[in-house]
Amino acid sequence: MYDQEKNNLSIHSRFAFFLFLLLLFISEKLRAEYLFEGITSTKKEAIGFLEKIDQTKESSYWPNVKPKLFYDNLKLNLENPKSFYPGRSTNFCSYGALSYLVMEKDPLGYVKFMNELYDKGEATLNNNRFKPSKEVMQAAGTLKFKGVLDIRHAEQIWFLALADKFKGYLNFFDKKFHEGDENTFWAATNLSKFDRMVKRVCGVHVRAVGSDLIKPWVKDIYSYLEKRIDSNTISLYINNRIIHKKNHDKIKFSIPTHYIILRQISKQDDMITLRYWDYGGETELHISNRTLKKIVFGIITIDK
């Protein structure tokens, strides 16, 4: 009798566990469907939209943004989505990587959003309401000595608005924009903030391994990346100071500093060739397996 009750209880608990897993799966699936709903568009649609707009109008919300530079920049973003340039010495690299993903998914959504933000000082992108602060509105169009970002006024608005909207723990002590903050912790992005931004802005599922301080628990990073690169978009959170050394000291803090979009990976003997996108173009890097292990802190796998 006692054994029978115990058996029933076990069946019930198994059934409850199965039900829990099923609900979890359904909720994930529902969320995925919701995330993907209606957020894809084509470059042609986006160009069509842009052609119908008066591109000479000034905006009182963005006093330092020049209409010609703003709309020329939007055109360039559509014609060459890889041209997004987060600027020299800024902390905008994560927003650059995000731009790449947005342009892959929804170029029309991007130009509509940017046009509305320019016209009205606030706008919505995939259910994310952006209302940049007055300081940010004043700063857009004034960023200088950042390379070609100096004359890309739409990108200045975009990067500043993203940094103003999304906050992580790295921004805790510097939440309000002050002049020059594009280079400081105000604009910095930790791994979970990046994941959150990608999920919310692009509406896609993101799976990340790694962290801000500890490297990912992956035995063979090369194989891990190679297996996923064809069916997913891969972003890497890397310690760029190993590739671009800044001083000759041997003892250094090993921390991640940069986000890139991995485009290709191949191996010959022990030499790994990474081809990745960052700063408005592609870079080909030849490194050893050991160096690859040393530089990678986060691997973010994004559904295509």
């Binding site: 020049k66 671009h244 050394k245 000759h248």
Partner: protein, 199 residues
């Protein structure tokens, strides 16, 4: 009690001293002017044909990182300066091999750790700045950061304030920072700063 305070005082002084690195010569540019200027002009000519940047990544300046820059792709390689692969790669991507090797040798002799061309905009028009860093002889204390002398070569005359600080333009008094650093006048188109990063 007195002993306790002395220990604190000594520790404090050691920590204060340890935080600063001293550059032996304050007149480095004037002493090396001819060589440094010729390196800059040599680089300018080579870079105009096929853009690239050079950095030495080790203390002895024996390992060079070369960035070969084209419109669509930047290739980054790191080689020992004596490695055949360096020459092979320069040939493969059609660089002036002897010109680049001459530059590498001169940079090693003059302790120039990095040379690069940087674009910036004035009145929405592109301008060019050649940026190079020198590894000077320094006295370093425990925990003190390294120090480099960075030189900026502009193509046109720049504006400076009464303290010799580089300004944004003639009309404003706004100080122009490059990589977060204030630069000081050497000539009307060359300026310098002391920094703990060579790039």
């Amino acid at each position: 009690m007195i002993r306790f305070f002395s220990v604190i005082l000594i520790t404090y002084s050691l920590l204060t001293v340890s935080c600063s690195t001293k550059i032996i010569s304050n007149n480095y540019y004037q002493e090396q002017k001819g060589t440094v200027d010729s390196i800059e002009s040599h680089y300018e000519k080579l870079n105009a044909i096929r853009p690239f940047a050079l950095a030495f990544t080790d203390k002895d300046l024996d390992i060079v990182s070369i960035e070969m820059i084209s419109d669509t792709l930047t290739r980054i390689f790191e080689f020992g300066t004596n490695e055949e692969r360096l020459k092979d790669s320069l040939l493969k991507y059609a660089y002036d091999t002897s010109g680049v090797f001459y530059l590498i040798n001169k940079m090693q002799q003059t302790k120039i750790t990095w040379i690069n061309s940087v674009d910036y905009y004035v009145n929405d028009q592109p301008q060019q700045l050649i940026y190079l860093s020198i590894k000077p002889v320094t006295i370093r204390y425990l925990f003190s950061p390294p120090k480099y002398i960075a030189l900026g070569y502009f193509r046109t005359a720049q504006s400076f304030d009464e303290k010799g600080r580089l300004l944004d333009n003639r009309r404003t008094k706004k100080i122009r920072k490059i990589k977060g650093q204030v630069f000081y006048r050497i000539t009307d188109r060359i300026c310098y700063t002391i920094t703990d990063k060579y790039r």
